[in-house]
């Protein structure tokens, strides 16, 4: 792999950029791999990357039915934070956040991780209590957060309206080390690194069946033919239950559309991520200048990857109220992604009833921020059969009733 650097760019500029090589190969599938990962989104690619990097397992295929990074990795609002309430969540999200800090250097691909800070507004007494509780929990979990006053909120976000007549801002939970990253670059950077380790990323290849022999996985049947493997990782977000069905087990999962939108680009006016859960909206400003806005999930299950309009209305109402200047901007584009939501709204990273088959799904509305941590933990689980980060996220918790419920900390999609 030719390294990217300012010198490489300069060198290529002199020869009209004719010397750049492919970021990742586009091979035909081999007949057998040690490991097949289904799903070349952020989580799948990160899983493959850490299998190679941490465990030296590189005879790996990552199979993708569309284009890599084309699911929720390329549709989210790019927020990265780890101020979760429950210990297992805080552990994996904080692991992810810390890996984001060095991801550009690790991958030699600028993913533009920008620790610009994440502010979660408290607009009711109940929210104040919830966020104070989170701040206490975070302190013991090794996650740096702080409950800040309305005055500090105004300093951090000058465009905010603290004194909305309906829900005045009473304070906020502030995670200074949270922020954003360039979502596509995360997928592309991992893909380039995986390809460089000799892994095969096979796009436009849909899995149509999972072959199980004597309770163990033998391979998958795809639109590009059968491919055998010793271990199988299912990392397909919104379609996880569909794939699990092919392997013969069920997942406690619902798939719903989550909405997002951007405004037209404007000059910088907001440097941090603000989430307002009482009124249901959140916003940050991309490096291009667009206000990146997210709202909630539709109240019905579907797979269409397009959203309805009523959530957009609800979200924009909230933002017009919280940041009145937004009213003078325009919506450029809205889109939807299909998120997989479990009963407790926490992910599943787990062994499955099928031998040597592992599943990583259920990230719901919080998948992007967890990508490196999720891949790290899933790789450890697949390579060694055990990972402390995944322990509590086992599929068995739904039988045991040992749920990891974050709803007290995040009442809204995030």
């Amino acid at each position: 792999m030719k390294r990217y650097s300012v010198f490489a760019v300069a060198r290529e500029a002199l020869r009209y950029h004719t010397g750049w090589e492919r970021a990742w190969r586009s091979p035909e599938p081999k007949r057998h791999y040690d490991v097949i990962i289904v799903g070349a989104g952020g989580h799948g690619l990160a899983t493959a990357y850490y299998l190679g990097k941490n465990f030296g397992i590189t005879n790996v295929a990552i199979i993708e039915k569309g284009w890599l990074g084309g699911g929720n990795t390329g549709r989210n609002t790019t927020i990265i934070r780890s101020n979760y309430l429950q210990d297992p969540s805080a552990a994996i999200y904080e692991k992810a956040r810390s890996l984001y800090e060095t991801m550009s250097q690790d991958l030699n691909y600028n993913v533009m991780f920008s620790p610009r800070g994440v502010l979660m507004l408290a607009q009711t007494q109940h929210e104040i209590r919830g966020y104070k509780r989170t701040a206490h929990a975070n302190a013991l979990q090794g996650v740096e957060t702080e409950f800040v006053s309305p005055e500090r909120v105004k300093e951090i976000v000058p465009i905010i309206n603290l004194h909305g007549p309906r829900y005045p801002v009473l304070g906020a939970l502030w995670q200074e080390r949270g922020g954003t990253a360039r979502h596509d670059a995360v997928a592309w950077g991992y893909a380039r690194a995986c390809s460089d380790m000799g892994m095969d990323i096979i796009q436009q290849c849909e899995v149509q069946g999972v072959r199980v022999v004597n309770g163990r996985v033998a391979g998958v049947d795809t639109t590009k033919g059968p491919i055998d493997c010793d271990k199988l990782g299912m990392v397909v977000a919104g379609n996880a239950s569909v794939l699990a069905d092919q392997a013969g087990f069920r997942l406690p999962m619902e798939s719903v559309a989550l909405q997002a939108m951007v405004s037209e680009p404007i000059k910088p006016c907001m440097d941090v991520v603000v989430m307002a859960n009482t009124v249901h909206g959140y916003m940050s400003q991309s490096d291009k200048g667009e206000m990146v806005i997210g709202g909630g999930t539709d109240g019905f299950n579907n797979y269409t990857q397009r959203g309805s309009f009523h959530h957009i209305e609800e979200t924009v109402r909230a933002l017009n109220e919280t940041f009145p200047m937004v009213s003078r901007l325009k919506m450029l584009r809205q889109w939807g992604g299909i998120v997989d939501v479990t009963g407790d709204r926490s992910p599943i990273i787990s062994k499955t009833p099928v031998g040597n088959t592992f599943v990583n799904c259920g990230w719901g509305t919080g998948g992007f921020k967890s990508i490196p941590g999720s891949g790290w933990a899933m790789a450890e689980l697949m390579a060694t059969g055990h990972s402390p980060l995944t322990e509590e996220f086992s599929i068995n918790r739904f039988q045991e009733g040992k749920f990891i419920d974050e709803s007290v900390a995040a009442g809204v999609a995030h």
């Binding site: 829900y167 360039r182 109402r317 933002l319 584009r333």
Partner: protein, 1010 residues
């Protein structure tokens, strides 16, 4: 130079001059001008700077597809960035500023990026700026952010001075577009009797037809347009709206209309924009087509314009973008522009037709007029910087070796036409590639499908790929009839108007000009003007493996600008397909997403702002509370008094006063917000036995029972007192926040699981005002009221014992009194009809003076219940807590076969002896424990987190006990009474608290059972 012509200008009124400013410079235009045409009339061709390279940019188009002419308009609370000059109607006093430059439009420091263009190719930022690590946040990113963005953000304290509104409409057929196709389709649809709505984005009707010429039914198109519009306007079943753009199509025939009511006359009253939320049975998209640019070097120099747009400026607004114009084309339509310019007295110095054989009749006509036409020829390069000066000409089939350079001040280009398929595609309509016309057109066999599995969008006219006037009208008429028929109206054949137009020779696809342009030229051939994406960028993306069209888009930012690729997408796709040795249809398009054109956030929010952002639910005592010191707290959609603060008193003092007074004298709580659900029917008892963990079917009429509700997973979700009203009727109290969700929860079970049970649930929360009369003097004040009224309900301990209710009169008011207590005091919760609530409240306040009556708020409510060890949903529960954790096993019926949560309670973790259990907590020093603090355990867990053994769920200063009290969940808590545990605060302090019984006050209940 660009200038106003002496003649032409069908849309302007030369008798009405309008003054406006651009970058502070005074200019004049005419009524009917757009800002764009007025700028051209004032020789202002350069209108902005590009996003990345800050290159000088001029007007390219005349409509909503314009990528360059984005302006900052207005000032103060009416300031708005990124407004398109081409869709801005001129008004007196308009003040426009160009964007994205410093210090000014003519001289922009960041134009240095243009010089560095060779380094700043597609995706360059992914390959650098990685070291040192901290520099991204502190150096590189701030610079990138400052140079990106377009218009300036509105001021941070901006409060939009305009208002917006929402509007609802139902139509059988919505026709999008008021051009000749739209009008013809509407006519056909309306003839069947269908209710038709026609939306036109411009302030005028007829679209391009009057500019393009030809005849309809033997007349000039304008005559037919006006006649047809008037016919439609006169029909009862037709609604016409101009300045109203259909911006999105959603599932189930939901269409968004974006009506710009006062943008052309700001501040003159009424809402600025109106959002039409339309349900349509069928939608006809008569949205026309958009011309494509040609990709040649320097195709972004101000003065290079789309040929048809140039024609629009001449015919519609009587302005010409140049005096010496070169036309470059691959189709016949651009000849019309040459002819119009010639007619207007401009010098058409050359027509370069990339086709070896040139065009048809129109070419001959141009030649006859003395215009020099060269076939098989192309533009090698346009030069001039801020304005076209020279055009180098070469062979189309070559690498761009210039054979001649001629002087010109404008270039009209045409690369063919692309149907506007956005609305067709928003909801899943599929496209076919038409090789002959080199464009994607709707595939009628694969339309977006409605809930009946049938198509609900029909494309019409040029939006359906018909490019000549005659076929457009025939196609549109058929589309209108089909839509009406599919909407359920019997087909009625309407003869299409007869359109006659020049016969055109076939176009030939030209994706690069010249066809084998060398890299030097390709690096100057723009695809996406606003985002500065060039032919070489797309080729680089393909070379680096970003082969999916979505990868190319994202890597190069092609089509991601505010015009969403209206001009660039097809040209970019073609370059990508060529780079991949593939075909355009195999490469496919990116996804079309709403809105078609950006719409204001103001209109999306509509009326909901400020005081009516979310309507406040008000109890009958709301105004009284407000004028009597209520410190409001939002709870759900309600507001409740947190405390009633007297003058000169702090909130904390007020709470302490309220607590003591209620314990010692008499307190009144406005409890009206408490949810009240009537559950009624022969199966109501059986149903409630499933919903609650307790047995409710055996509750005796006249009695109350405290009930718990668990989720399917066994977690405690709500609590409240249930009263049995009669044989078939129960009244269930819920928490304030839970009323709607519990109602929904009940309905969900009734509708999905027990649909055959005879039960109705009605939410009667707002039908009653409910007042908690609390304290040792509670009975006295009520009896005084009865005495004054000459009698009433017997409120004695014997007649109305604890946990019972009675209907009757209190103080002359119709009342239902419940002997229940959430405070541990003697307490009556009295419900009266909402209309009598305030009067009843006032009556108690008046009568209660001698008993020391005071109102109390939610904080006192919380403290009183905490002193008694009563749990609060949302404090002691958070979705992870089960009744067993809260010592509420007694409320879990053992007699019932089933109830929601029962099976879940059998799961292993639910019986785990290590679950945290409810206890009371007392700080060693009497201080108040911090809210949400965790109790520290020993060591760390496998993930390096400190182990914890419990947490604070509620914590207050108790005025009654004059010390801090708290409740918490602690591992093995009830077995550890008296033990002291440690709570680290986030304030740097560590708090020590003793585990105690959670009932701090009146453990034996002597005060409430009197």
């Amino acid at each position: 130079m660009s200038t106003r012509l002496a003649k032409q200008g069908r849309l302007i009124d030369r008798n009405k001059q309008i003054e406006f400013t651009f970058n502070g410079k005074r200019m004049t235009g005419y009524a009917g001008d757009t800002l764009a045409s007025a700028l051209l009339a004032n020789d202002q061709m350069m209108v902005g700077r590009s996003f990345k390279y800050h290159r000088p940019r001029g007007l390219v188009a005349a409509g909503s597809e314009e990528p360059n002419a984005l302006m900052q308009l207005g000032s103060g609370d009416r300031y708005e960035p990124n407004q398109r000059a081409t869709t801005t109607e001129l008004f007196s006093g308009l003040s426009a500023k160009s964007q994205n430059h410093w210090p000014n439009l003519e001289f922009d420091v960041l134009a240095i990026n243009n010089k560095l263009g060779r380094f700043l190719t597609a995706g360059f930022y992914y390959k650098m700026f990685m070291y040192p690590r901290a520099a991204w946040k502190h150096v590189y990113e701030p610079i990138i952010r400052a140079s990106a963005g377009l218009g300036k953000a509105p001021d941070k304290e901006t409060k939009d001075a305009d208002t917006y509104e929402h509007f609802y409409f139902f139509a059988d057929v919505v026709v999008v577009g008021g051009g000749v196709a739209g009008l013809q389709a509407a006519k056909a649809a309306a003839a069947s009797g269908a209710k038709v709505l026609v939306l036109e984005q411009n302030a005028y009707w007829g679209g391009r037809a009057p500019v393009d010429g030809g005849t309809i039914d033997g007349e000039a198109p304008e005559a037919w347009i006006e006649k047809t519009r008037a016919e439609l306007a006169a029909m009862d079943n037709v609604t016409l709206r101009d300045r109203c753009m259909a911006s999105g199509v959603y599932d189930h025939g939901y269409v968004l209309g974006y009506e710009r009511l006062t943008d052309h006359a700001p501040g003159q009253g009424g809402p600025r924009h109106r959002l039409w939320r339309i349900r349509a049975k069928q939608i006809v998209t008569a949205t026309g087509a958009i011309e494509r640019p040609l990709s040649f070097a320097g195709n972004d120099v101000p003065g290079v314009m789309l040929a048809a747009s140039m024609r629009d400026y001449v015919v519609n607004w009587g302005v010409t973008p140049g005096r010496k114009v070169v036309v470059a084309t691959n189709n016949d339509d651009a000849y019309r522009t040459a002819l119009v310019l010639h007619e207007a007295g401009c010098d058409v110095v050359r027509i370069l037709d990339a086709r070896n054989n040139g065009g048809g009749d129109l070419m001959e006509e141009a030649r006859q007029k003395g215009i020099r036409v060269e076939c098989g020829r192309a533009i090698a390069k346009v030069s001039g910087g801020k304005r076209v000066k020279k055009v180098a000409i070469c062979a189309q089939n070559g690498t761009g070796g210039a054979q001649e350079e001629i002087e010109a001040d404008a270039v009209a280009m045409s690369g063919g036409w692309s149907p506007v398929v956005h609305l067709w595609s928003h909801c899943g309509g599929k496209l076919n590639w038409d090789d002959a016309q080199a464009h994607f057109r709707p595939d009628a066999a694969r339309p977006p499908l409605g809930d009946n599995g049938k198509g609900f969008v029909v494309a019409a006219g040029s939006a359906d790929g018909e490019m000549a006037l005659g076929p457009v009208l025939v196609n549109a008429s058929a589309a209108g009839s089909k839509a009406a028929e599919d909407a359920g109206f019997p087909a009625k054949t309407v003869a299409a108007a007869a359109g006659v137009d020049s016969v055109e020779a076939p176009m030939e696809a030209v994706w690069l000009m010249p066809a084998q342009a060398d890299i030097g030229l390709r690096m100057k051939s723009w695809l996406d003007y606003q985002n500065d994406v060039k032919v070489s960028d797309v080729q680089l993306a393909a070379r680096e493996g970003y082969e999916s069209v979505e990868h190319t888009k994202r890597y190069t930012t092609l089509g991601m600008a505010t015009d969403q690729g209206k001009l660039s997408n097809i040209n970019g796709l073609a370059i990508l397909a060529d780079s991949l040795n593939s075909e355009i249809p195999q490469v496919g398009t990116t996804t079309f997403r709403p809105p078609y054109h950006p719409i204001s956030m103001g209109v999306i929010g509509g009326e909901a702002r400020g005081d009516i952002f979310q309507p406040v639910r008000k109890t009958p005592m709301y105004e009284w509370n407000d004028t009597n010191g209520a410190d409001w707290e939002p709870v759900g959609h309600w507001r409740r008094p947190f405390a009633y603060v007297n003058k000169g008193e702090s909130v904390h003092d007020a709470v302490n006063r309220e607590v003591k007074n209620t314990r010692e004298n008499l307190g009144l709580l406005d409890a009206s917000t408490l949810g009240k659900l009537v559950v009624k029917g022969p199966d109501a008892g059986r149903f409630l036995d499933m919903m609650y963990t307790n047995m409710m079917s055996t509750l005796k009429i006249g009695k109350c029972r405290y009930g718990l509700m668990c989720s399917e997973n066994g977690f405690l979700m709500d609590d409240g007192v249930v009263a049995r009203i009669d044989e078939d009727t129960w009244l269930c109290h819920t928490t304030t926040g839970g009323a709607e969700s519990i109602h929904g929860h009940m309905e969900e079970w009734l509708q999905t699981e027990w649909w055959d049970w005879k039960v109705y649930v009605a939410n009667v929360t707002e039908q009653f005002a409910q007042i908690a009369v609390v304290g040792p003097n509670a009975r006295k004040v009520l009896e005084k009221l009865n005495t004054a009224a000459g009698g009433g309900m017997d409120l004695s301990k014997e007649a109305l014992p604890f946990m019972e209710w009675r209907d009757g009169k209190i103080g002359g008011y119709d009342a239902r009194a419940y002997r229940i207590s959430f405070s541990g005091e003697l307490s009556y919760e009295i419900a009266v009809p909402a209309s009598q609530g305030l009067a009843f409240w006032n009556a108690i306040m008046e009568a209660g003076k001698e008993f020391g009556v005071m109102p109390y708020g939610t904080e006192t409510l919380h403290i009183l219940r905490a002193e008694k060890g009563f749990i609060m949903i949302g404090d002691e529960t958070d979705g992870t807590v089960i009744p067993q954790d809260l010592n509420l096993q007694w409320a879990l019926s053992k007699k019932k076969e089933d109830y929601l949560g029962k099976r879940a309670h059998l799961r292993s973790h639910m019986a785990d002896p290590d679950r945290w259990k409810l206890v009371g907590l007392e700080t060693v020093d009497g201080s108040v424990l911090p809210d949400g603090a965790y109790a520290l355990g020993e060591g760390i867990n496998a993930n390096g987190q400190k182990n914890v053994i419990g947490r604070v769920t509620s914590t207050y200063f108790s005025a009654t006990l004059d010390r801090g009290i708290a409740m918490g969940l602690v591992k093995h808590g009830p077995d550890r009474m008296g033990e002291v545990i440690t709570f680290p605060g986030t304030d740097g302090k560590t708090y020590e608290a003793k585990i105690v019984d959670p009932v701090f006050y009146d453990k034996d209940g002597e005060k409430q059972n009197v």
